[in-house]
């Protein structure tokens, strides 16, 4: 598997560390509820199909990236920096 790091270029998956689904947003602040936090920490869609997920270029530029990958075929549609991902989300 290859991941096209927006900073470094196409690299072997061996250089990256995986975290998981990029969708959950941490409920920040003192007013966050336990229920919301339980959901953020534990519950996952785990789709068979397109999945936006967090990877860390551990052996490269140390950037966290959002990779859009099909979990049935491993085909990668997009690799975004966190900034790009946020811009996309807000857009």
């Amino acid at each position: 598997m290859r991941i096209a790091c927006p900073h470094c270029g196409s690299r072997d998956v061996q250089e990256f560390a995986y975290l998981g689904d990029a969708a959950p947003r941490r409920p920040d602040g003192m007013e966050a509820t336990a229920a919301a936090m339980v959901d953020y920490v534990h519950q996952r869609d785990n789709p068979a199909g397109s999945h936006r997920e967090l990877w860390y270029h551990a052996a490269g530029c140390h950037a966290w990236l959002v990779v859009t990958r099909d979990t049935r075929t491993h085909a990668i549609d997009a690799v975004e920096t966190m900034a790009q991902a946020r811009a996309g989300a807000s857009a």
Binding site: H7, C8, G9, R11, Q14, A58, A59, G60, C61, A63
Partner: protein, 205 residues
């Protein structure tokens, strides 16, 4: 009362690991220069700091700030991109490097790494064949021209690699390894270069 009069001599990162000489088959297919005594510092700038940092580096060293994975060099200094918003400043000599760092303090988060890295300069007819045994990055001249740098890993050691100006035998690659893993890196390198034969020299300041 620090006059117990012990001399504080610094120990090079390659000391006890590699020394001038040769190993493997008698071909010198690969040449290694152990680069001791470099000044190295990491610079991290926020977006707002970058212009000022860029001006400073340009005025001081005539180096422009690489925005992507490349390396720029002057006679005395090299500036390596080392991640988004991050660079490594290298000085051929650690003498006076503290002043280099102090001068940039306000313009970026500066952290000296001179003692934390072990650096090799690799060349020779078989250098690419040797690196291919562990380097997961495409080093074909079309993909990795002079002035390109890459952060990657070789034999489970995270390294930074960059291509300097060509030498008499063609491509010259510089490799920077974490000091604590220099021995393991060398174990991989010597096993990989042995079939081509390897000559080792040492450069200090």
């Amino acid at each position: 009362m620090a006059e117990i009069g012990m001399a504080w001599t610094a120990r090079g990162a390659w000391t006890g690991i590699a020394a001038a000489g040769a190993f493997g088959t008698p071909h010198d297919g690969v040449r290694v220069q152990l680069r001791e005594g470099l000044g190295i510092a990491s610079l991290i700038a926020g977006q707002e700091q970058e212009p000022a940092l860029e001006r400073a580096l340009d005025s001081r060293y005539g180096l422009s700030l690489p925005r992507g994975p490349s390396a720029v060099s002057s006679a005395s200094h090299t500036l390596l991109w080392s991640g988004p918003g991050q660079w490594l400043l290298l000085a051929a000599s650690s003498a006076g490097f503290a002043e280099d760092c102090a001068g940039l303090a306000g313009l970026a988060a500066v952290a000296e790494q001179s003692d934390g890295r072990a650096v090799l300069s690799l060349s020779g007819a078989m250098v690419r064949q040797t690196l291919a045994k562990g380097c997961m990055v495409d080093l074909h001249p079309r993909a990795f021209p002079v002035g390109t740098t890459a952060l990657t890993s070789i034999a489970y050691v995270n390294i930074q690699l960059w291509r300097a100006e060509d030498g008499p035998e063609g491509a010259v690659y510089e490799i920077m390894v974490p000091r604590s893993m220099a021995g393991s890196f060398w174990s991989w390198f010597s096993a990989s270069a042995a079939e081509f034969g390897c000559a080792i020299t040492v450069s200090r300041d």
